[in-house]
């Protein structure tokens, strides 16, 4: 919520700034079909109103794609009586289900820590809204970052390419295991460690066609759906016993 207010503020404030950011996304809707195995979207843009002859190194672009907020429960195993059991748990609420970050330079060179924390830019600056835990949740948060990075749901790369002085582009891989919902594509223009301009574009990821209908069926008429699953299993089992009638 805080982030949204900040972004809105930036939008209002940016006309006054000397440099303007213009950006776009190659797709604003990703449809998950039966053959979906992940896809790539391209975030591109340009820095406008640049004074000629200024050294480029002082400007930086950060592209962030955030998935819908989700609750992540992390459990820790401890040895109790010689057996490893899930002992402690922390529930981190309000973490994005998907987080992709690409920057033109390493984040620590782009902006001071407090600015990065402010906009939650960078995996290490992602903080849950609320935490249910009896202990310090930091190791649990680190474990969540580690696991989600391994599943390619959390990514932090330096993948912003400048095609010219002002044109830039970043490839955003969207893996097959992403959650459905509304995503946000954010592009930040940093100058001297401060956000000069920012843009946020929504991106929708949804199931389509048969997948969508099956999902709705399962949730709207669960009993009918269950019956359909049972009927499918019964009929297939019965047909197979007819097809494979033993020769004896």
């Amino acid at each position: 919520m805080r982030r949204a207010v900040l972004l809105a503020f930036l939008f209002l404030a940016s006309p006054a700034a000397a440099e303007q950011l213009v950006s776009g996304v190659s797709q604003d809707l990703i449809q998950i079909t039966s053959t979906y195995k992940g896809s790539d979207i391209v975030v591109f843009g340009a820095i406008e109103g640049q004074e000629p002859g200024e050294p480029r190194t002082r400007r930086d672009i950060v592209v962030v794609v955030r998935g819908p907020e989700s609750d992540i429960t992390v459990r820790r195993r401890d040895r109790v009586a010689g057996v490893w059991i899930n002992h402690d748990a922390a529930k981190l609420s309000g973490m994005p289900a998907y987080y992709f970050l690409a920057s033109s330079r390493p984040l620590k060179d782009i902006a001071p820590q407090n600015a990065l924390t402010h906009y939650s830019i960078g995996l290490q600056n992602l903080q849950p809204d609320t935490v249910h835990s009896h202990h310090d949740y930091e190791p649990f948060r680190q474990a969540a970052l580690r696991h989600l990075t391994k599943d390619k749901l959390y990514t932090e790369t330096g993948g912003v390419e400048f095609l010219s002085e002002t044109l830039f582009r970043a490839h955003v891989p969207v893996p097959a295991g992403v959650a459905r919902g509304q995503y946000k594509v954010e592009v930040y223009l940093f100058r001297d460690g401060e956000v000069q301009s920012a843009q946020s574009t929504p991106l929708f990821i949804d199931q389509t066609g048969l997948e969508r209908r099956l999902y709705n069926f399962a949730h709207n008429q669960p009993f009918g759906y269950g019956l359909a699953a049972v009927a499918m299993a019964v009929i297939m089992g019965w047909i197979s016993s007819l097809l494979f009638r033993r020769p004896t």
Partner: protein, 304 residues
């Protein structure tokens, strides 16, 4: 060759899933077990969320069990009365199991409970079957007439009230032991996505003393009943049945089961029991391994 699963919300290689269904179906036709105790861990290992794996495996169990049951029925090797009595206990057990499932999920202790109950249970059952089948195999090899399964005197079983005659099994026993066995298996099937054949079959052979030829068909009927009811409960309470995943598993399962039944016909009872014992012990060891070996990562991410 990937296909997207609408409920699991992930893409899978359908050929791998088909292979799993085929392999487990073969074992299920061979031994007359549902194979859930193998399929559920396989699916979880592949990356399917465990709730979906537990619920969807039941469709596979239903289909391969029906496929096997029709074949057994043609051989008149089903004791429907016994199956009905066990099913009565099984349905109550299913209700209790779904309730326990929800409690354990909330506490995050699903894996622990599954492992802690599986290891001793599978270890004991596997051990008994292995010893018995080896003894019979050895006796046959040395030319002696194969010894009957050594009768343990279950006097307490015969002292129970509510006796009934089970014509097909040539038994006159109390209905209480079959109901209790059915109840336990029903509860397990809801909690772990297993049909429970690997418990039912030894229990029928060694506790109830049913003739081996009726055991497989009868356990299949009981398993079908429990699996159908559990599928409906999982679909309505957890929305966890993935029909696309189920369809792939079922196609593999029913084909595999037919080959399994045929392979089983070529083997003698004690040989089948020997192989099943090895399989059961292998699963027990695998679970024990997971309990005592220091995990590579102490942290895991679970559902809410």
């Amino acid at each position: 060759m990937e296909i997207y699963l609408p409920i699991a919300e992930m893409s899978v290689q359908w050929i791998v899933i088909l292979g799993m269904g085929l392999g487990v179906g073969f074992l299920s036709g061979l031994f007359g077990v549902g194979g859930g105790f193998l399929l559920t861990p396989l699916l979880v290992f592949y990356g399917i969320p465990s709730g979906v794996a537990v619920a969807t495996t039941l469709s596979h169990i239903t289909a391969s069990s029906i496929s096997g049951a029709v074949t057994q029925w043609k051989k008149r090797a089903i004791d429907f009365k016994m199956a009905g009595v066990m099913l009565a206990g099984g349905l109550v057990g299913t209700g209790v199991g779904v309730w326990l499932f929800a409690i354990m999920r909330r506490a995050g202790q699903m894996d622990l409970v599954v492992s802690l109950t599986y290891v001793p249970m599978l270890g004991i059952i596997g051990g008994i079957m292995l010893r018995e089948s080896l003894r019979t195999l050895r006796a046959r090899r040395s030319g002696n007439a194969p010894a009957r399964i050594h009768p343990v005197n279950h006097v307490w079983i015969h002292g129970l009230p509510l006796k009934a005659r089970f014509r097909q099994s040539r038994l006159y026993i109390s209905v209480i032991p079959p109901i209790v066995i059915g109840f336990l298996v029903g509860a397990m099937s809801a909690i772990m996505g297993v049909g429970g054949g690997f418990i039912i079959i030894p229990a029928m052979i060694y506790l109830l003393r049913m003739p081996t030829n009726v055991v497989i068909g009868t356990s299949l009927v009981q398993i079908i009943g429990v699996a159908i009811v559990t599928t409906l409960l999982q679909a309505t309470s957890n929305y966890a049945v993935d029909i696309v995943l189920a369809a792939i598993l079922v196609v593999g399962g029913v084909v595999g089961a037919q080959f399994g039944v045929r392979a089983g016909a070529k083997l003698r009872g004690e040989q089948i029991r020997f192989l099943l014992a090895l399989l059961v012990l292998a699963v027990a060891l695998r679970l024990l391994w997971g309990l005592v070996v220091t995990p590579a990562d102490f942290y895991s991410i679970g559902g809410s």
